[in-house]
């Protein structure tokens, strides 16, 4: 059960304006008629990612928990460094969002953290006050960063935080996957996407189907 003080944050994470590739991957998992179990597995895997998922949430929470209210300290802490499976330059909780997502997440941060009377500690407000200076080095706040600010400010422990984050994101993705499954394959652009294959191309070679049928005794 999610702590009631987290409901605004959970609602913000479920906002369609924040739908990302995890949601799209879950739709993809069910569009050919698989169970929502496939969407849940796919979404759980995608939201484990080290860029905008659990792999960013944990280190972002760790950094936030130890930071003073110093802009220089925040800018240093959130300078991108090698992180994750292949060592991408990552500031945990920042980056890897579209401009539209960046705008939506910034608006959500303002809504959730700018008003001191809404409760929580100071970090969310500090981020909102210094957003431009922080995102200048870190990149735009992403969903994991938004969640990390909310969790740390409300003193949510790591286990509860990862549970709330993953369940919220999976739940949204599953609902979208059900919609994609109901709309069906005819509405899903598998082979209609632009695709640029850059490898070598051997010449096409045809089979002699009639001869093969004879060879195996079908004719």
């Amino acid at each position: 059960m999610t702590d009631a003080k987290l409901w605004p944050l959970i609602a913000a994470l479920a906002d369609p304006a924040l739908f990302d590739e995890g949601v799209e991957a879950a739709r993809n998992a069910c569009v050919a008629g698989a169970s929502i179990a496939a969407a849940a597995i796919t979404a759980a895997a995608w939201y484990d990612n080290p860029l905008t998922g659990l792999g960013a949430l944990h280190p972002c929470m760790d950094l936030l928990a130890g930071l003073p209210a110093s802009l220089a300290a925040w800018r240093d802490a959130f300078t991108p460094r090698a992180h994750g499976l292949v060592g991408d330059a990552v500031a945990p909780g920042f980056g890897f969002v579209t401009p539209a997502h960046a705008t939506a997440i910034a608006a959500a941060a303002h809504r959730l953290f700018a008003d001191a009377s809404a409760g929580g500690a100071w970090r969310g407000r500090f981020f909102v006050q210094h957003r431009d200076a922080i995102t200048e080095v870190a990149g735009s706040l992403n969903a994991a960063g938004l969640a990390a600010l909310g969790f740390v400010d409300h003193a949510i422990d790591r286990e509860a935080a990862e549970r709330s984050f993953l369940c919220a994101r999976i739940s949204t993705a599953i609902a979208e996957a059900q919609g994609a499954r109901a709309r069906g394959l005819a509405r899903f652009p598998f082979f209609e996407d632009a695709y640029h294959y850059t490898g070598a191309r051997p010449p096409p070679r045809a089979f002699d189907l009639a001869a093969l049928r004879t060879r195996v005794g079908l004719d």
Partner: protein
């Protein structure tokens, strides 16, 4: 208490698989032969195991547009661990239109075709009159399935003649092409081959669980080498 017949790993001493010593009796098997043995609890004749192995190869399509491969693409792009990628791509392949549930339905369709020709003719007449779906026939986007010829080539090169199930499958193929322009697809052909090789539906489905894995792995590693989250970034199909 766990009751088990598949095997036992006595660590530091011996590993037994269906009554064979893994490290003394199984290492000469190919990966597919061993997988089939572990799955089925009996050895497939090596030429038949090789036929099924080559059928696996024939459907390992590394195209990132294919629905289950797109999962691998998304997860590679997001730097998700390969184990989670494989679990998700396999789960997405358990679908009705394509993949494992389609293969299951194709097996049922092949099993329903009667052997005696007069009875088969009556069955087909009734099936068409009732507009029943014949899983294992037809394919979205294109009429022909390029894996049919590849499957026949695999059988021919192994010196394997079509068994009764595959002959029935092609009998129906010829009728459907003539009446409706619908062709046998790969799931139907593989189901028939599996029946001729003595595999039950669940044995086929279980053994073929990883049949698309070469495609997943190729797409995953390709997208892993590209900029993070670049795969269809921002695309929403709603």
């Amino acid at each position: 208490m766990i009751e088990a017949a598949a095997g036992i790993a006595e660590l530091g001493r011996q590993v037994i698989v269906h009554g064979l010593d893994l490290h003394h009796d199984c290492l000469a098997m190919s990966l597919f032969e061993y997988t089939a043995f572990a799955t089925l609890g009996r050895r497939l004749p090596p030429p038949r195991a090789r036929i099924l192995e080559r059928i696996f190869i024939a459907t390992g399509y590394p195209d990132a547009r294919i629905w289950c491969n797109r999962i691998a693409g998304y997860l590679g792009s997001a730097r998700v661990d390969p184990g989670y990628m494989l679990a998700a791509a396999v789960a997405a392949s358990d679908s009705v239109a394509y993949g494992f549930r389609a293969l299951r339905a194709a097996y049922d369709a092949q099993a329903a075709i009667p052997e005696p020709v007069p009875e088969r003719e009556r069955w087909l007449t009734a099936t068409l009159a009732e507009h029943r779906v014949l899983s294992g026939y037809g394919r979205p986007m294109t009429t022909s399935d390029e894996r049919i010829a590849a499957t026949l080539l695999i059988l021919a090169e192994a010196g394997e003649r079509a068994g009764p199930a595959l002959r029935r499958a092609f009998w129906l193929h010829d009728r459907l092409v003539a009446h409706k322009g619908i062709e046998l697809n790969a799931a139907g052909a593989w189901a028939a081959v599996a029946m001729d090789f003595g595999l039950s539906r669940i044995e086929l489905e279980t053994l073929f669980t990883l049949m698309f894995a070469p495609g997943y792995l190729a797409v995953y590693i390709d997208q892993l080498a590209r900029p993070p989250l670049a795969f269809l970034h921002g695309h929403q199909s709603r």
